[in-house]
């Protein structure tokens, strides 16, 4: 077990170096630099004079080739320093710390809802497979699955923030809170919850549709197996056959799915956070790319990669728990 974890750890570090190297290279070689983008090159009055540009370049380390920049970034990371954001004049760790809470609130709620609803829905669909109500449900889920979130988000905004304005159904258009920071704890919670309803809905429905269809497909695969016939021949009832014998076997692929959803929990959704102006990680990522804010891009990339690797490791360890045929040895 210890050697297995050690091997995974070393392999993970190697993977991290490869990922960050590629992302750093891509980011640095994108057209534009923090200076051109953020200083408003098109506005001649705000254009920096050449000496200032050179000075800024030196400060940011942009006067060196990108692979040297990467090595310097890597060295700082090893020393525990993710650097300072170019555009926000703050340490990247502080930025991430500010954004992680809102994203976790949004994605955590969505993930919880997805699994709380998706598992029963998938089981229900496989239990009633082929019947009219299941077909209707599956059709609806399929439509939801193929419906893009950004379209759904706009529809929801029009319905709840525009058409229903002034009614008790009205929901805020965007943002996380309208109340000042010194408002009461209870009032703030209610306010944030009201703001979260639409983005959570958007983030939940697609993965809900995907997960329940995934569970149904795996259940249908499981109930075709010989051991299901054995269970029925033993005298097990339909409920026991489905939930005890079949579902226990679908846990194996489900664990992979769960592992893959871990990075999203902290990484958030770029599209949804952008549409709803939610102050989370996804939005920070989007903005840092737009501003060519290399330290922030790299900090976030590093964090997502670490989470992805942890998610995979967790899934592999959970495998051993749910499938006796798998062992880490």
């Amino acid at each position: 077990m210890a050697t297995y974890l050690l091997r995974r750890l070393l392999l993970g570090l190697l993977t991290l170096v490869a990922i960050t190297f590629i992302v750093y290279g891509l980011a640095r070689n994108m057209p534009g630099t923090p200076l051109t983008v953020q200083m408003g090159e098109s506005d001649p009055s705000r254009k920096l004079n050449p000496e200032d540009q050179e000075r800024m370049k030196r400060i940011y380390g942009l006067d060196r080739p990108w692979h040297e920049g990467y090595l310097r970034w890597l060295g700082n990371v090893v020393r525990g320093d993710l650097g300072r954001s170019f555009s926000r004049k703050q340490p990247v760790t502080t930025l991430i710390g500010e954004r992680i809470g809102p994203t976790f609130l949004l994605s955590g709620t969505a993930l919880l809802l997805t699994w709380l609803l998706g598992v029963p829905l998938g089981l229900y669909a496989s239990a009633r497979s082929g019947l009219a109500d299941e077909r209707a449900t599956s059709l609806l889920l399929y439509i939801l699955y193929s419906f893009p979130t950004f379209v759904a988000a706009l529809f929801l905004q029009i319905i709840f923030a525009v058409w229903l304005r002034g009614t008790s159904w009205e929901l805020p258009l965007f943002g996380m809170s309208d109340l000042p920071a010194d408002a009461g704890w209870a009032a703030r919670s209610v306010d944030i919850a009201r703001h979260a309803i639409l983005p959570v809905t958007c983030q939940t429905y697609v993965s809900l549709a995907y997960d329940s269809r995934f569970i149904k497909a795996n259940m249908e695969e499981a109930v075709r197996q010989d051991y299901i016939r054995t269970a029925r021949a033993k005298g097990a009832g339909p409920g026991r056959v489905l939930f005890h014998h079949a579902f226990r076997n679908t846990l194996i692929p489900l664990v992979t799915l769960l592992g893959l959803s871990l990075p999203g929990l902290i990484g958030g959704s770029v599209i949804i956070e952008q549409i709803f102006t939610w102050p989370g990680m996804g939005r920070l990522f989007f903005e840092s790319i737009r501003e060519r804010d290399y330290p922030t891009i790299m900090g976030l990339t590093l964090m997502f990669s670490v989470l992805t690797l942890i998610g995979q490791l967790l899934a592999d360890l959970l495998y051993c728990l749910v499938d006796p045929r798998v062992s880490v040895e």
Binding site: D226, Y227, A231, R232, K234, G235, R248, P324
Partner: protein, 352 residues
């Protein structure tokens, strides 16, 4: 009174291509404590017959007609075709146990051997988990599993095919059923393991008095283990008789063909070369194949392959299953007239 009686069972599959009657009017009866062999080529409907007996036929298969009567010791009769699901579940694994062909896949990979046998006990008996586990251990000892205590907590993938089949047998026998349905229980196993499993079944039948329906395509297995034999062809029983009668005096051309198609074993050959077994001449086969149910011929379903067929009579009328002599039933219009059993090549040579 037989323990189990099947009357005119019809099981058909309703596929997009039409109705496929895999079992088309099968009647069988099994006496308490006896072994009945159900023999036939692949696709003749023997497995579907077995699955129908516990209503385990998967959709789109439907039992369309017939009755399956199960008698208990006091004379009570249940018709398994019409029995409501909850009562049927008491029969499944309780009064009728089932053994399947594929020991590699018929155990659930994520549960331990002990749990899977104990489940059968818990489903039918009002016992505690600990008692059920104790019963599981007893069953493993009964099926002569090596190191049974350790096996209780092992998973199916840790066992060999033969050991898994012993587990399946232990599971089927855990509630002391009156009848075991064994659907090709040894087909997927090595020859040496086959013999062990057959010995075990024969031994258990003697000790527990369980009746066995043994489904197989292997006439050798039937000859060694069965009291009675039913031969199935194209969804119907074509001949049924006590084993010694059927092997000594086969009357249906299909049965005659099956027996002739067995590789005969002889000692070292005339030249003294080699040891072991040699076939006595080339292997005889029955020409043609079992027709698919949607293409069953009219009249006697065997007539297109039959060396004795008389046209147009044999293609016109489906012969009835007649009792040629006590306990020997044959579905052939000319069973009486065929004279002494012949080889399929038409020579008058007696079958050994």
């Amino acid at each position: 009174m037989p323990l189990l009686e099947i009357n005119n069972l019809v099981t058909a599959f309703h596929t997009p291509a039409g109705r496929v009657p895999a079992v088309d009017g099968v009647s069988l009866s099994i006496e308490r404590g006896k072994t009945l062999g159900l023999v036939g080529e692949s696709g003749c409907g023997k497995s579907v017959t077995a699955m129908s007996m516990l209503r385990l036929v998967a959709a789109p298969g439907v039992i369309e007609a017939g009755e399956i009567l199960l008698r208990d010791a006091t004379g009570g009769v249940l018709d398994l075709v019409t029995l409501p699901e909850p009562q049927l579940r008491e029969v499944r694994g309780g009064r009728i146990g089932m053994i399947f062909q594929e020991p590699m896949t018929s155990l659930n990979p994520v549960f331990t051997i002990g749990d899977q046998i104990a489940e059968a006990v818990l489903l039918h008996r009002n016992v505690s988990r600990a008692e059920a586990r104790g019963r599981a251990l007893e069953m493993l000892e009964l099926v002569r599993m090596a190191d049974p205590k350790r096996r209780l907590d092992e998973y199916p993938h840790q066992l060999s095919g033969g050991m898994r089949q012993r587990v399946v047998i232990a599971m089927a026998l855990a509630c002391e059923p009156d009848l075991i349905i064994a659907d090709e229980p040894t087909t997927a196993l090595d020859v040496t393991i086959q013999a062990q499993i057959l010995d075990l079944l024969a031994d258990l039948r003697q000790r527990l008095g369980t009746a066995i329906l043994l489904i197989t395509h292997d006439l050798g297995v039937v000859a060694e283990t069965c009291d009675d034999v039913a031969v199935m062809y194209a969804g119907r029983i074509v001949e049924q008789a006590p084993a010694h009668e059927l092997f000594g005096n086969p009357r249906h051309p299909y049965t005659i063909g099956l027996l002739a198609a067995r590789p005969e074993r002889r000692g070292p050959d005339a030249h003294g070369a080699g040891s072991g077994f040699r076939r006595a001449g080339p292997l005889r086969t029955i020409p043609g194949m079992v027709p698919a149910p949607q293409h069953f011929p009219t009249g006697c379903r065997f007539h297109p392959r039959c060396a004795f067929a008389r046209m147009p009579e044999c293609s016109g009328v489906m012969p009835a299953l007649n009792e040629l002599k006590p306990d020997h039933f044959v579905r052939c219009s000319y069973a009486d007239a065929l004279g002494p059993p012949r080889r399929m090549d038409g020579t008058a040579e007696e079958l050994a």
